[in-house]
Symmetry: C2
Subunit: 233 residues, 2 copies
């Protein structure tokens, strides 16, 4: 019998890499989905490709969507990315790195791919605990997306078939995400979390994403295998 398929949103960061490993470990044939969306940190796409290879995912699809043409985010513009925010303040307000409607756009594409490849599961590595305060990372957001999916798709109109949105990291701390990923063989040295890496892919060590990642490794008592330009707090 062939494996059931799952579409996994793979950014190249540690959360999505862990999510892909979780989907694999649950017996899914994983179709990884990444986007070239005008992000300033395109090195994450190379990371996504390496992760997909290392985890031996069935397929890695990279779609071009021009979010930069819409604007409105420090991640797709030459605006400064905030640095050295006290880590306990991260997530209390929406930062300028928020990309408008990004998760909605990414999930909408994942839904299209799931329909086409016949996957009944979509995985997204969103996290609502150690996160950046983006509104589309909240549990109630994913519940609403599930309701939408139930009504939006061809599958939703056929008997018995349903596409499920899975966000297995939603309630986990960064430290427990790392522990889970290491147990599943994720090589975090391959992952890129930084919002503002050097052209060679070296993490800045000071943006919100770096600070949350460093905190996670610190709390799990494991050394972060990533390279940093200088280590943040």
């Amino acid at each position: 019998m062939s494996k059931p398929k799952a579409v996994v949103l793979l950014s190249g960061g540690m959360d999505s890499a862990t999510t892909a490993a979780i989907a694999s470990s649950r017996g899914f044939e994983v179709v990884a989905l990444s986007f070239r969306y005008g992000q300033r940190h395109v090195v994450e796409l190379d990371a996504a490709r390496r992760i997909a290879e290392q985890l031996q995912l069935a397929r890695h699809l990279v779609l071009d969507i021009d979010l930069g043409a819409i604007g409105g985010s420090a991640l797709t513009a030459q605006t400064a990315v905030p640095k050295d925010t006290p880590v306990e303040e991260i997530g209390h307000r929406i930062p300028p790195t928020y990309v408008p409607a990004r998760n909605t756009i990414f999930l909408a594409f994942a839904l299209a791919v799931a329909e086409v490849v016949g996957a009944e599961d979509i995985f997204i590595g969103a996290n609502a605990l150690d996160y950046s305060g983006y509104p589309d990372c909240r549990p109630e957001y994913f519940q609403a997306f599930q309701r939408l999916v139930d009504l939006a798709t061809r599958a939703g109109t056929e008997e018995g078939r349903r596409i499920r949105i899975n966000a297995p990291l939603l309630e986990l701390t960064k430290a427990s995400i790392i522990e889970r990923g290491l147990a599943l063989g994720v090589d975090y040295g391959m992952t890129v979390s930084c919002y503002d890496p050097s052209p060679q892919g070296t993490a800045c060590g000071h943006c919100d994403a770096c600070l949350l990642r460093l905190k996670g490794f610190r709390e799990s008592g494991i050394e972060d295998p990533a390279h940093y330009q200088t280590a943040g707090r």
Copy 2:
């Protein structure tokens, strides 16, 4: 005082042209949004541009998204588009022209644009009466999207601001859409409804979209100003 802004999804067909005219007539400054998504009927983008000019819309944004890379639809592939379906049977099942998750993807982008330009209204020309049977044209689908929007966005987390999804044609027949549009000065000669037009943009007269359009004009007692290769039933 400056006008409130609205993002209007503008495909170049008669429904979206009418919707843009309705949004204008309600006093909105209209930001029209079209997609180059790998559709075989790209002449509709020229139509969208002409309509935006004729209706004097404030802005027309065309985004590139490669739905063709996902596949799964006769609208983005070289698969045959169904012809001469008895018009009373159209809408009773999902046809091969269904593009997986298309409205979800288009609305997700509209949401991003609305957030960036500061629009509190999104208009979509979906229609649930004389329609092709796509699951993402049903009223309950739009209710679910509204719920998602309330949770997805920066606006949804700020007090008092809310982005509304408007589908003013949802419960109208094609005939009443045409009457409404003519009253608002829409030039239907500019609109392209056909799923399979000639390279010059002449409608086939036999696909589901042409048949529904011709039925609408017949019922409203008005002659369709569009050019057809041959007239369908």
